[in-house]
């Protein structure tokens, strides 16, 4: 499987031109990692460790201060056509119906209306929202709206899905079910997924490999393969090996999370 994303010595320093703090904030230290095609990799780290910034850099929304990101061998200058992003907070447009929201991306690309509608209907079914096409986001639950955000990304038929804590705002149970749903979609569509989260359980449940990140300025502390059989079910996730992996990740994160507790650390 050839390398699809490779991040080379990327770092990010925010020249804080704001008046209050002054001085610069080093969000991302030196980060190197690769993601192969079809792989599900997650970036796990304490809150405020710059993992979202790193994802923005990979997505081309933020320029790195040093180092570079290659997608399919090309250096990333801006949002790359082969990638699509899913955000944490409610990012679906409230004034558009579910179907219109899914169409947003391909509408921008200028796809002809009939084909666009057909594609959107297909993807809406894929994420399990058949029958809700004409509802407004305000009439759907948080989980369903996140499915819409995923469908909107999938409609672009990207090779890579960059997901920034998409289920962060959901409760524990819904989050687990959405995780299973995402895995089903992932197996069906064979996309490459780079998934940012601060929940150890979620990282283990979903990914092939977990990149554990340090506190700010973040570096990759350790790369932990999740050698659990697929498809992941309650049983596979409660085996002895799973809890061992969890304990190992927790040992690393315990130190990092503590750093984030001091008052100035955001």
């Amino acid at each position: 499987m050839e390398e699809l994303i490779s991040v080379k010595r990327v770092s990010k320093i925010f020249e804080d031109s704001g008046v209050n703090t002054g001085g610069s904030v080093e969000a991302v230290g030196k980060v190197d990692f690769q993601v192969r095609r079809g792989e599900f990799v997650s970036l796990l780290g304490p809150s405020g460790c710059g993992k979202s910034t790193l994802l923005d850099i990979v997505a081309g929304l933020e320029p790195p201060t040093s180092g570079e990101v290659l997608i399919a061998g090309q250096t990333v200058k801006g949002p790359h056509p082969k990638t699509a992003m899913v955000f944490q907070s409610m990012s679906v447009f409230p004034w558009r119906t579910a179907l219109e929201n899914v169409e947003f991306g391909i509408e921008l690309k200028g796809m002809e209306k009939k084909a666009r509608r057909e594609r959107a209907r297909q993807v809406t079914q894929l994420v399990g929202l058949a029958g809700f096409e004409d509802k407004y986001p305000s009439q759907l639950s948080g989980g369903m709206n996140q499915r819409l955000a995923i469908a909107r990304a999938l409609a672009l038929d990207p090779e890579i899905l960059l997901m920034d804590e998409p289920f962060g705002a959901l409760d524990e149970q819904t989050r687990f079910l959405m995780g299973l749903e995402l895995l089903r979609i992932w197996e069906e569509t064979r996309k490459t997924i780079l998934f940012v989260t601060h929940s150890i359980a979620e990282a283990i449940q979903l990914s092939d490999r977990v990149l554990v990140m340090s506190a700010r300025p973040s570096v990759i502390r350790e790369e932990i393969p999740i050698l659990l059989p697929r498809p992941r079910t309650i049983e596979t996730l409660t085996t002895e090996i799973a809890t061992q992996i969890e304990r190992r990740i927790w040992d690393i994160l315990k130190v990092e999370a503590a750093k984030g507790m001091t008052p100035d650390g955001r």
Binding site: L61, F87, S91, P94, L108, P137, S138
Partner: protein, 259 residues
């Protein structure tokens, strides 16, 4: 009927009866005043005068003149207001400098500019239109500004992550989310437009509802004067209700979004 539905119904019923009694009280108060002040006609004379004015058609051309002034002023206020609002929304420095000035616009009695407008635009209709536009432009500017600032940052990030062009970003993200606040500004603006043209007519005019109020007062026909004032109040309520209905329809998604 569930508990609170019943309570709500009982509440409404009570409110309705209270409103009825208050109206009756007002009616009696009006009768009392008309006894104390011979100058004041009793309410039923005012209502019959109103009926006469409408059926006789005496009020029609004046109504048309005021509506013409209000709507033209409204059009100018919208164009100017949204344009300035966008200008301030886009450039932070302009906003920092001019927003406080516009905010203090609310505290200044704008009628004092009427003589200036009459000197520039003459004593004809144009000075009334200008006065209407001057009164209405402030809410339009401020609400447009609010509209731009309220656009959710995440939506812009989504658009950017999908390589939306500037035009696409404006048409598909800025515009839809600005419609409700800008329209609210227009509704308030229209009310001010109406006020602006009436005040200008009150001061110096040949035609219009404001002129009619002053004219009937001059002729001592107080019943007709109060009738015109009553019709103006009803007209304002109708305009406001109409605009509110359109506004709710326009932001149908917003109403559900908030609940």
């Amino acid at each position: 009927m569930s508990g609170n539905a019943f309570r709500r119904l009982r509440g409404d019923w009570l409110v309705r009866t209270l409103q009825f009694f208050l109206l009756l009280l007002a009616f009696l108060l009006f009768m009392g005043i008309s006894r104390v002040f011979p100058f004041f006609p009793p309410p039923y004379r005012v209502l019959s005068a109103a009926g006469e004015l409408i059926s006789g058609g005496e009020i029609n051309q004046h109504l048309l003149v005021t509506l013409y002034e209000t709507l033209t002023g409204f059009l100018i206020a919208i164009i100017l207001g949204i344009w300035i609002g966008l200008l301030l929304g886009v450039s932070r420095t302009l906003a920092l400098i001019f927003e406080p000035i516009i905010l203090s616009g609310y505290a200044i009695p704008k009628i004092i500019f009427l003589p200036l407008l009459m000197m520039i635009f003459g004593v004809g209709l144009n000075s009334k239109i200008a006065n209407a536009a001057l009164h209405a432009v402030f809410p339009v500017i401020l609400n447009t500004l609010v509209g731009i600032r309220e656009v959710n940052g995440i939506f812009l990030k989504v658009a950017r992550s999908m390589n939306a062009t500037r035009v696409q970003t404006f048409a598909k993200v800025y515009f839809p989310s600005m419609v409700p606040p800008v329209f609210a500004g227009m509704r308030i603006g229209l009310g001010f437009c109406f006020l602006g043209s009436l005040l200008a007519e009150l001061f110096e005019a040949k035609m219009g509802l404001g002129f009619l109020v002053a004219h009937f007062y001059n002729l001592g026909q107080i019943a007709k004067m109060l009738a015109v004032i009553l019709l103006v109040f009803l007209l304002t309520m109708m305009i406001n209700a109409g605009m509110k209905a359109i506004e709710n329809r326009l932001s149908r998604w917003r109403a559900t979004w908030k609940s």
